[in-house]
Subunit: 290 residues, 2 copies
Amino acid sequence: MKAGVIGLGAMGYPMALNLHRAGLLASFWNRTPARAEALAAETGVAAASDPAAVAAACEVLITCVSADADLLEVIDALLPGAHAGLIVCDCSTVAAGTAREAAQRLRHAGAGFLDTPVSGGVEGARKGTLSVMAGGEAALLERACPALEAISARIGLLGPVGSGQATKAVNQIMCAGIGQAVSEALAFGRAMGLGLDQVVDVVRAGAAGNWFLDHRGHTMIRDENTIGFKTRLLVKDLDICVDMARAVGGSLPTIEGLLPQYRELIERGHGDEDHSALYRIKRRLFPELE
Amino acid sequence: MKAGVIGLGAMGYPMALNLHRAGLLASFWNRTPARAEALAAETGVAAASDPAAVAAACEVLITCVSADADLLEVIDALLPGAHAGLIVCDCSTVAAGTAREAAQRLRHAGAGFLDTPVSGGVEGARKGTLSVMAGGEAALLERACPALEAISARIGLLGPVGSGQATKAVNQIMCAGIGQAVSEALAFGRAMGLGLDQVVDVVRAGAAGNWFLDHRGHTMIRDENTIGFKTRLLVKDLDICVDMARAVGGSLPTIEGLLPQYRELIERGHGDEDHSALYRIKRRLFPELE
């Protein structure tokens, strides 16, 4: 199988490396050429001149971009190279409706589409242990499996195109709410005068244990938030979630309460930090210790 | 070493069984005699006639009761049997101040005290894999270790008496906030028409992974909340947390927003269910599906 990647960001770049380790990486492209050049140097695989060239060279094409408009732009740009043997697996986080739109544009060119957003952080992308939330036809997923298995430890098919993104929305709501629980609890622990490194270690071994505490607990208490998932991208995802909830007449009070706190973080210049930077806000719930 | 247990509830009973498996269980007592009789039948160890008899027979005495007043009552009742070789390890969840009061009463009798609240659920109590959050003197903890190791997978010493309870408060704040994140996210997923068993399995493998989703995800979506941590006990713990936060001039907005939801659950007759019953409330954020 020949696989390609479009979008070599914090997630896409290590995913491409794992495809290369599996012997599958045939082509790739990135909007900022420097990232593609770095990957070419690291793998010996040549960068493509444009998205259509990646599509033409691949059976499975993984896209991993930041926003809904970026995805549709990339889909349109790769269409000239699309063919009946091509399956585009979009690992970006976009609205379910955007996934359905992408699938439709590719269908006209005879190519297949799966929405395959992922979770597991940059660590999961590096280790190839991501969780893939797939939406689309089972037969297409089966064909795409060798590529998806090279980047993940678990793949779930949740339903038709869009179901992967709906599940990713569930995932993001949960991640944000957990981030709030952890950062508010640790701010409380700080106010109690506890040694937070020890608290993180003992609490993570019990019923409050969670990925976020395991991977961000020790760094967030030092305001080290450079590695991880950018706050401004989480806000983009959560805005999608709130829109999806409202579209069915519902609401997400926990997320609606969180968004102003994240927006304040962005205004204060922390938008490119991991969302564990929320601890900066939660600390202010307590008077500063002497 | 001879160990004893006072309080054979959902946590205390399996903890006593693990002490017995380690060859340490010498005595025990429970307010409701039937539980003590059941443990005597299961272990062949005789139940004591009163708390003082347990204290007299032990070097390490684990107490595991439901509320602050119960703990101080048990401490007073065991004092006639207290001796210089005795360490009381209180695994209940109470206020840090109550732990300090218990330590003082025992000190007058020459006995030692550690606050050693635990986390890990009834599953952790059964498997002997609890996380112990200890407060008190390191030398006492070292002496008590054989008994605590029989019930736990991890023991952390957080500081002087009361520090274990302060850390348990951090733990409960985190547990409750995670419970809210998970139940609100799954209510959203239900409204999106997703198959929630599949969602639980794929989401738990990513960055939203957490103990609560692992152990309560598949049951909460069926309103099966019989096993676990009773909502009314979590409310009792969270009231302590809010009081502790206010005592230092702080606040816990996430918990203050959750408490009315839990109280509503109790009013509706779900107080003895695991707090994953919160999903019953969160479902109402979305109009019922056809």
